[in-house]
Symmetry: C2
Subunit: 422 residues, 2 copies
């Protein structure tokens, strides 16, 4: 179609438009942003047939190209996803606006008032899987936080993404918001990403969501700060003092409730003193629900239905009805296992021991650590952040579930009456 | 000396040692970290002669190599810098420990307590100018925040840096802290930086301080998150309602107090209605202090001693007795000038008008914005952060003066009694 230079120039032009729009989105009132969100919800509802037929065409093309089942599942806009997507726009409208919030405002000894004010980041590039509903969710959060957003979804979802982008932009035009607050990358050309990732004067943050290949590529290429939404190799550790019933319920909720989510349980660690007392009940319950158990030697001794686990199993994010199980000597061994094989996502201890609970919370440095609760609480909505843009496994800026606040920064605000330093 | 591969391997070995040490520094008690800081202060005082003679040798070598005056000034450890460096260690010991602090702890409707706990980042690489005192300041802050630090100072300061590093590490060994909590890169080979900047599994954050060339190179090469401590092209805007005496004092304090600092004033903007009333007094006072004025046409009309400013002047970080001055039509024009030419550092309005003060604070997105105060308050110590590692002009994670808190992150901490999601 176009030469590589032509593509680069087109992508940079899009980024410049978003940058220009971001100066205005930063100054929009809450009322203006909410009017856009509510109008977008209306418009997308009215455009249902057009969007769904674009999505159906995406699905047909993906099937014809022979893509895998899970991808098709993410791609198809089911009734449930459609409802959640529309409801999401209205929920984001109902969230309080982070922009302009002042935190930590104090008066210094010289009378100077020093506060920190929340402001937008500017332009955010989001790179995500072939999930058209993310186009809407991500745009809503980014713009509510006063940013412009550049959306690059998986190529299989291009038709639905464009259709949804059209509605979001038309709603912007109708409500006096710059259309380029929402830019959908209009091409599936893989080379389109590179010029964007190098445009560090036009884009302030890149959020890649998706497989390890994508995340690695973005980290290596980008000159723009990156917040990774990487794999979740989540652990539950059943301590020797765990209540057996509570342990069973937490493991089931963490593993069974939803299989293909990043906060799902992937490796169960069991204190050796709980191996004979608690573990059989837990593993039997999982087995009955159809979960395949892959265990260490001690696990297989006690639970003979278990298959043998390899080193690959300890690092696996199955997203499937498979669970790795390992018996460990003590709390230290459990923490060492998590440090070696974990992915900084979510780790829970089930224990009755106060000191062990405290040590787990203090010493495990993953983005979410918990005592006596399901791993499934690692979720922005459940933790009280409102909607989430994803779960960051990058320590800088936002670590763990990332909501509106993570899409802003804090500047220092000084209010004086003529204060001088000398 | 060694092959490039040998250098790469040596640098990666250093980074691995720091990574290993960081697991222990993260769990040190406040008492242990403070004991190290106080012992380091004692040891460095006792090693005064050895360190100063290493520094003198650095200075002689730099002079022989013909380096510029300002660099020599930064390199030489004056009595004042020596005192501040030793005092700095004791001040950091007195700061409260950020690690383990819990912020925003709330109970969700289901009884789950959700808090956020401050934890270290891990391993921090700091790349800085030939200023040996920064070796000590940066090590103190990074380790107090529970991190290990890799220090790469300007090559001219290598001898003093090594001598200071030896004392910091010896103090660690004496007080039971891992020596590799502080790693001084032992070579001046420029190629040593590249393998470190690519070691994103071993290093968590890179902080480059220094000229635009260095910062650009680091941003382009690094696979590790970068927080830039970049130039300060700071502005004061004298509004039409500014008090003339206050305006004069603020401009003098911002420009004259110290010239070669990033929070110093570089461009003065004057509302056209204050050009004839306020500007002459201000510029006369500056002129009398030996500051060269480079002005726009209107400025030169009113203050004939001014030379002509070019577009380069608007973007200049002089760090010298030169000031760019421009008359603007109104608040909007002042904000537009700052957006175009500023560097996201520090911008102050002098005004008597409430609405303009509020608009300046809200609309200018630099890391520090102020009303009726000196730009020189953009400083961690002055803003109540305690000592600072520098002033970030990167929006992500830490924006503006960056203290201990900026060297940590927050993880989510969940405390339950068996809560399930379903």
């Amino acid at each position: 179609m176009t030469s590589p230079e032509g593509l680069d120039a087109r992508m940079l032009a899009l980024a410049r438009q978003a940058r220009e729009a971001s100066r205005r989105t930063a100054e929009l009132s809450t009322r203006e942003k909410n009017a856009w969100l509510l109008r977008a919800a209306e418009r997308i509802e009215q455009a249902r047939e057009r969007v769904l037929s674009a999505n159906a065409e995406d699905v047909r093309a993906a099937e014809a190209a022979g893509v895998e089942k899970p991808l098709l599942g993410r791609l198809a806009l089911s009734d449930g996803k459609w409802r959640d997507m529309i409801a999401g726009l209205r929920e984001v409208a109902a969230l309080s606006d982070p922009v302009g919030e002042i935190v930590e405002s104090r008066v210094r000894p010289n009378g100077l008032r020093v506060g920190r004010m929340r402001i937008p980041l500017g332009v955010i590039l989001i790179i995500y899987e072939a999930r058209p509903n993310v186009t809407v969710d991500a745009a809503a959060l980014c713009v509510k936080a006063g940013n412009a957003v550049i959306l690059r979804g998986g190529s299989e979802s291009i038709r639905a993404n464009r259709a949804l982008g059209d509605e979001l932009r038309a709603a912007a035009a109708e409500t006096g918001i710059p259309e380029d607050a929402v830019v959908v990358v209009p091409t599936t050309d893989r080379a389109a990403l590179e010029p964007l990732l190098r445009a560090d004067r036009l884009i302030d943050l890149v959020i890649p969501r998706g497989g390890p290949g994508l995340i690695r590529k973005v980290s290596e290429t980008s000159r723009i700060p990156v917040i990774k939404h990487d794999a979740g190799v989540c652990h539950v550790f059943i301590d020797s003092t765990a209540d057996p019933k509570m342990a069973t319920e937490i493991v089931l909720d963490s593993k069974i409730r939803q299989m293909a989510v990043c906060n799902g349980l992937e490796t169960l660690l069991v204190h050796r003193d709980a191996a004979r007392s608690v573990m059989p009940t837990v593993l039997k319950a999982l087995h009955e629900k159809g979960v395949e158990i892959r265990g260490c030697a001690k696990t297989r001794e006690i639970f003979t239905e278990a298959r043998e686990a390899s080193d690959d199993d300890w690092a696996a994010e199955y997203l499937a009805p498979i669970l790795a199980v390992r018996v460990v000597d003590d709390l230290d061994a459990a923490i060492a296992h998590v440090r070696r094989f974990g992915s900084d996502h979510t780790e829970v201890i089930v224990t009755g021991d106060y000191a062990n609970a405290q040590a787990w919370l203090r010493r495990v440095s993953s983005s979410t650590v918990g005592v006596n609760c399901s791993t499934a609480f690692a979720d922005g909505q459940r933790l009280g952040l409102g909607a989430e843009i994803g779960i960051s496994t990058s320590k800088l800026h936002a670590y763990g579930p990332m909501g509106l606040e993570g899409l802003t920064t804090l500047k220092f605000v000084l209010e004086g009456e003529g204060q001088l330093r000398e």
